[in-house]
Amino acid sequence: MFVILALVGALSNPYLVSLMTIVLLFTFLGQSWNLMLGIGGQLSIGHALFVGLGAYSVGVLDVKFGISPWIGLLLGMFVAGSVGAVLAWLSFRFEVRGIYFALLTIAAAEFARIMFSGWEFVGAMQGLFFPAPTNAMDMAMLRGDARFYYFVALALAALGIAGTELISRSYLGYVWRAMRDDEQAARALGVRTFRHKILVIAISAAAAAVGGGVLALVQGSIFPDSIMGMGLSVDVLVGPVVGGLGTTFGPLVGSLTVIPLNHAMSALGDSLRIPGLNNIAYGVVLILVVWFLPDGIWPAIVRLCKAIQVPWRVWLPQPRKAEE
């Protein structure tokens, strides 16, 4: 259903194609963040760290050495996964958890941003630029036109949704949700929460790095302030929060709502000469959703379909979150 919708979008004008590419990429990034908090119960507000590591892995290999972004994506997964695991290990080893762990993720992201800003080899503040886009599609170097990246982003979003469902239904999904709801109770049932927390964070970080690598290719450049900044960390989490925390389709629905709105408001703000209108709109939507649909848009859609007995409701996967 979503795939068809998205395909239709792809055949329309270039503006819509590039907007939808960003929507799908943030769906994937949101999915990675959602896995960590919505299922694993670990809050990150510094996901830009992992996104940035993925972007730089792809960027440095491609721009500096001409090595395929495919290798860059693998390297990014490895680097970000390891950094995530080490961060988690250190944190939980010293009993830093919950909101304190979240603060640590911001600190780590800011530290990395400052480090990359001063690192000449990776372009420092001047950033890294990929070779100019061509119209010839090149799978090996992941280069092509806007429509090509649209399909890459679409594949990634689909992969993210399928992966989340798969993990959710495997034993990891059960064990992680138990750990998220009550760590002490989960441990009493034999769940080795220490290693599972590290695992969920490493997987989330590795996925975020893939999203970051592709985001960098799509944008054609990497700047430390935007790819590793606080703003990006927030952009990553807004989708799943608005769409529905811990639900498989939440990040997609949330990104579909928030990003086009943000762009529209930004354009409106420009024409009305009200800078920052998009940020205000962002805030208003967040407040409205938190106020009226505290568990997000997706669970509300599912409830609505159930209430009006839409015959195809059987197609809709149930949200994982309780309706309370």
């Binding site: 495997s170 109770a185 009493a188 309370e324």
Partner: protein, 241 residues
């Protein structure tokens, strides 16, 4: 009688308060033992010490002759000790069956295997009919039985039950008693915490009585009820045997 669990000179204090004071007892395999005492006697703390949720200030815990008092709770569970919590803790967005599945992942990573074990656990506590219900549709009695089923899914050798009958109506308590008897018949060893003495008399073959953290009596139910120290401790706090 071989002892599955042995607690030796166990103590735990919180600041100046000695919650468990030099307590020793042993559990015979396949028996139901009750740990009783008025509220605040230190029963839950004792459970936490055995289950690895807290470390003792001093003393040892032996399970199958291995020392476990400094073992973390997940490892204690994997050795074969499962516990329930006095305050029931169902996982909110999981069905009754899914709740009961989690424990099985301590010995299998197969979802199918976990599901069939969970059914078996629910069946043995009489909850199989509500497998697909959500946990907030359950009565208190059912929730307590769900806690027991969750623990059973870990395939324990020793089951620690913290006040599973507290707050239940007499008919509900009677059905819990039947469940516990049946579990014991399968060879499971049970340590049961209750503060109401009457219920334990029916199921336990041995009773350990705590008061102000110390063990004041131990023996068969009949011996314990006849013990003046026990009566005094209960009368002193307004509870009647």
């Amino acid at each position: 009688m071989t002892s599955l669990l042995e607690v030796r000179n166990l103590s735990r204090s919180f600041g100046g308060l000695v919650a468990v004071n030099n307590v020793s007892f042993a559990l015979g395999a396949g028996q139901i033992t009750a740990l009783i005492g008025p509220n605040g006697a230190g029963k839950t703390t004792c459970f936490n010490l055995v289950a690895g949720a807290m470390r003792p200030t001093s003393g040892q815990v032996f399970f199958e002759a291995r020392r476990i008092e400094n073992t973390p709770p997940e490892a204690v569970c994997r050795m074969g000790i499962a516990r329930t919590f006095q305050i029931v803790r169902p996982m909110r967005d999981m069905s009754v069956l899914e709740n009961a599945m989690v424990g099985a992942f301590s010995w299998t990573s197969s979802v199918g295997e976990a599901r069939s074990k969970a059914y078996e656990s629910l069946e043995s506590v009489g909850l199989a009919g509500k497998a697909n219900a959500s946990t907030d549709q359950l009565t208190l009695s059912d929730r307590k039985m769900l806690e027991t089923a969750k623990a059973l899914s870990t395939r324990p050798k020793l089951l620690l039950l913290d006040e599973v009958m507290a707050g239940l109506r007499p008919t509900e308590a009677a059905s819990v008693v039947r469940v516990l008897r049946r579990l014991a018949e399968t060879g499971l060893t049970i340590l049961l915490v209750e503060h109401v003495m009457r219920i334990v008399m029916e199921v336990a073959s041995r009773v350990v009585v705590l008061h102000h953290g110390a063990k004041i009596a131990e023996g068969s139910p009949a011996e314990v009820v006849a013990d003046p120290k026990v009566l005094e401790s209960y009368l002193g706090t307004g509870f009647h045997a």
